[in-house]
């Protein structure tokens, strides 16, 4: 059993949990993910690692309630425990590998976090700060009330920009528009990391391709085992088929076939299910990427 030592509600539908998982905490690196399973009946849910404490043996996860499984997970409280919590899975972010340090130091890096994608961006920025590397971070959200981790991010980012679609906080516009504005001001970036809903990553990639900024994205497709066994998470990257769980989750965003990935993410979304979700979410409904609830 893997105990929840801390739970925090970050916004209406976004929750943070700190989970005791010493084996995962001892080895995980930014960019990697875990799979959590609540109980006997639960699904195996992949979540990118948001933070970790090697001394305490804990791992922080952040998730958004998008369906029955995550709704159920949000009901757990401090002191409760998950039946299963396995990882770290996938490859660490290339920026956060000691051997790449000299390369990384030469880069001018901008992160674009969309919605719940703020969580996986955080440990990368934190790792870079700990290694003396600057980074610019843009957090984009639909509105102020679903924006989270502002203070935490400010503590580790060299420069932090906030953008809201509705203009309720920070820059009025999305992450892409904020990046464009920064570039227009004369800021130069030669490496971009975009993590968020697939549609957002797709549009960031279209822009950065135009701007000539190499861009890494973190994919979060449907998965079962997370170890390369099922192939559910396969993606087309360039002319190759890759498994997000073992080859990723980070890929060259300019090579990812996002349209196919978005179609695959809807695999288990039935018409009825979508209708129900729309009804429940009302104005906040953004369709289904399967994980973040922020697509389309």
């Amino acid at each position: 059993m893997y105990q929840i030592v801390k739970k925090e509600k970050l916004s209406d539908k976004i929750f943070l949990m700190v989970v005791k998982a010493p084996r995962v905490a001892s080895r995980c690196l930014p960019g990697q993910f875990i799979i959590v399973k609540m109980d006997e009946e639960g699904e195996r849910i992949p979540l990118t690692i948001c933070d970790y404490d090697r001394n305490e043996g804990t791992v922080t996860i952040v998730f958004q309630t998008v369906g029955a499984s995550t709704e159920r997970m949000a009901l757990l409280n401090e002191g409760d425990a998950f039946d299963d919590f396995v990882g770290p899975l996938g490859q660490p972010s290339e920026l956060c590998i000691e051997e790449n340090l000299e390369e990384t130091k030469k880069k001018s890096i901008v992160f674009i976090a969309g919605g719940v994608g703020t969580a996986p961006v955080y440990p990368q920025v934190k790792w870079l700060k700990e290694h003396g590397i600057d980074s610019t971070v843009i957090i984009g959200a639909r509105s102020k009330d679903i924006l989270f981790y502002e203070d935490e991010m400010r503590a580790v980012a060299t420069e932090l920009y906030l953008a809201t679609d509705d203009g309720s906080y920070g820059f009025h516009g999305n992450g892409c528009q904020q990046l464009q504005a920064l570039v227009d001001e004369g800021k130069k970036f030669d490496h971009c990391v975009a993590i968020g809903p697939m549609i957002m990553m797709k549009f960031v990639c279209l822009l950065t391709k135009e701007l000539g900024i190499p861009t890494v994205v973190s994919m979060n497709p449907i998965m079962v085992d997370g170890t390369g066994m099922c192939g559910a998470c396969r993606l087309v990257v360039g002319d190759q088929v890759k498994f997000a769980c073992v080859d990723g989750p980070e890929f060259d965003g300019h090579l990812v076939d996002f349209d196919q990935a978005m179609a695959r993410a809807k695999q288990y979304k039935t018409e009825e299910g979508r209708a129900l979700l729309k009804q429940q979410e009302g104005d906040t409904h953004h369709g289904g990427c399967g994980n973040c609830g922020g697509d389309e």
Partner: protein, 461 residues
């Protein structure tokens, strides 16, 4: 007096009934039936059947005990050689192993050794009899990676030799392919697999789930930080193969691994479980092995019309004859000498059909089987909403790529001697991780051999 040339028939669920449920197909022998079948054994002085068994069970000896109704004694004899008799009695290809060598089989039907093994194992479980470990602990720590057939066998044998054994499993259930791959209707999970894992536990073996070797911890760390003195790798062959034909990334195309894992490990077929599964209306399963039969029969039970598309003819089907027979009885349609060339996709990105080409058999290939050759211009389209690729699997590179000194061959299989010694001292391997996808019992045989080799390694140290 019964006809000694034919076996005592075994009861099975009616095909029409079982095609709609996940209950076990074969119901097993009753005591009377088992005793009667056991009486057909000639108790040969030079028993050929034992030579046909990869774990060398003393078959005539246990059958004589069944005949004499000493079922507990029969179980003890089997347990000396096999940690998983209830599993093997169900899924071993006995027809090509022990039963294939049976003298009775020359003029009549071979003794139903597998069914008798199953009877004995089930009897022991129902009567609460567990295998005994009479060894004295020797204090040496051995790590076993993977809780599938080879790992469980190696762990059980090492524990019986006094070793302090811990099994590390990547998934959340113990059993490997026995839980994620083989369906409930062939191998009940709670009743049989869990019980056999409990039996291995009863020998003193420790189990740790949710540990992915190569990610959660490496082999070198197990040795250096956790003081394991030897390691057995039984990590199987988990990576699915695809055909690399157009349309393969469409929604509705699954690897057999994914489809079966959702159904078996995640129990998607059961009410109340959260994991979804595609319940197709018309399903094409590509391939002809046991896994293809499992996928086809699972899809059928989930309510689909199922076509098995296989590029060679019936004679070459790699699946066990019993599985093919069961699948046909249940209504699975076999489209033989055919092969998909394209998956047809609708505007939403979902499967709407399959373009299939007909084949004929040409000259024998390297495997000795006649090579299937496409018949030009014979393509046709079949409507379907689901395609399940069951083309085989290869070993996961996670362990080999994170362990210095552990070498693999071109196919990604770990290089090991006949005894299971890998290219790294103190590290042994067996089962599908070494051979590529094969059978449960061959993996068990490899686990057994490696356990003996590990014991010899310690004795010579």
């Amino acid at each position: 007096m019964a006809d000694m040339m034919v076996r005592v028939p075994i009861s099975e669920q009616d095909p029409k009934v079982r095609a709609t449920n996940f209950e076990e197909v074969c119901l097993g022998y009753t005591e009377e039936e088992a005793v009667q079948e056991a009486s057909r054994c000639l108790n040969c002085k030079n028993p050929m059947c034992v030579g046909g068994c990869p774990v060398s069970i003393n078959i005539p000896a246990f059958i004589q005990e069944v005949k004499a109704r000493n079922f507990e004694k029969a179980y003890e004899i089997i347990s000396e050689s096999s940690a998983l008799p209830a599993v093997c009695g169900r899924v071993c290809p006995q027809e090509s192993q022990c039963e294939g060598k049976c003298i009775r089989g020359i003029k009549g039907e071979a003794v139903a050794i597998g069914k008798l093994e199953r009877f004995v194992a089930d009897w022991a479980r129902e009567n609460g009899i567990k295998p005994k470990n009479t060894s004295t602990p020797n204090g040496h720590k051995v790590a076993v990676i993977g809780s599938g057939p080879s790992g469980l066998t190696a762990a059980g044998d090492l524990a019986k030799l006094g070793y302090d054994v811990t099994v590390f499993e990547a998934l959340h259930e113990m059993g490997g392919v026995l839980v994620y791959g083989i369906p409930e209707f062939r191998l009940p999970k709670d009743k049989v697999v869990k019980a056999e894992v409990e039996n291995v536990k009863a020998l003193g073996v420790k189990f740790e789930k949710n540990v992915i070797i190569g990610r959660s911890i490496t082999i070198d760390e197990l040795i250096e930080k956790e003081n394991f003195e030897a390691v057995f790798i039984g990590s199987g062959a988990g990576l699915p193969m695809f055909m690399h034909i157009p349309g393969e990334q469409a929604n509705g195309v699954f690897s057999a691994n994914e489809f079966l894992t959702r159904n078996n490990l995640m129990k998607a077929f059961k009410e109340g479980y959260d994991t979804p599964i595609a319940r197709g209306k018309k399903v094409v399963v590509v391939g002809g092995g046991n896994v293809a039969m499992d996928a086809a029969r699972t899809a059928l039970r989930l309510g689909a019309e199922v076509h098995v598309v296989y590029r060679r003819s019936e004679a070459e089907l790699p699946a066990r004859a019993e599985e093919v027979h069961h699948a046909k009885e249940e209504g699975v349609i076999f489209d033989l000498l055919q092969n998909p060339v394209e998956i047809l996709v609708n505007e939403e990105g979902s499967v709407k059909g399959c373009k299939i080409i007909k084949m004929e058999l040409g000259e024998p290939d390297a495997s000795g089987r006649r090579r299937p050759v496409e018949i030009p211009g014979s393509e046709y389209e079949i409507e379907c909403d689901t395609v399940i690729m069951s083309l085989g699997t290869s070993p996961n590179p996670l362990i080999s790529s994170t362990t210095a000194g552990l070498e693999t061959n071109k196919k990604g299989c770990l290089i090991a001697t006949e005894d299971g010694a890998t290219t790294k001292t103190g590290v042994y391997a067996g089962g599908d991780a070494v051979t590529g996808a094969a059978t449960v019992i061959l993996a068990m045989g490899a686990g057994k051999t490696a356990a003996a080799a590990i014991d010899a390694y310690f004795k010579n140290k």
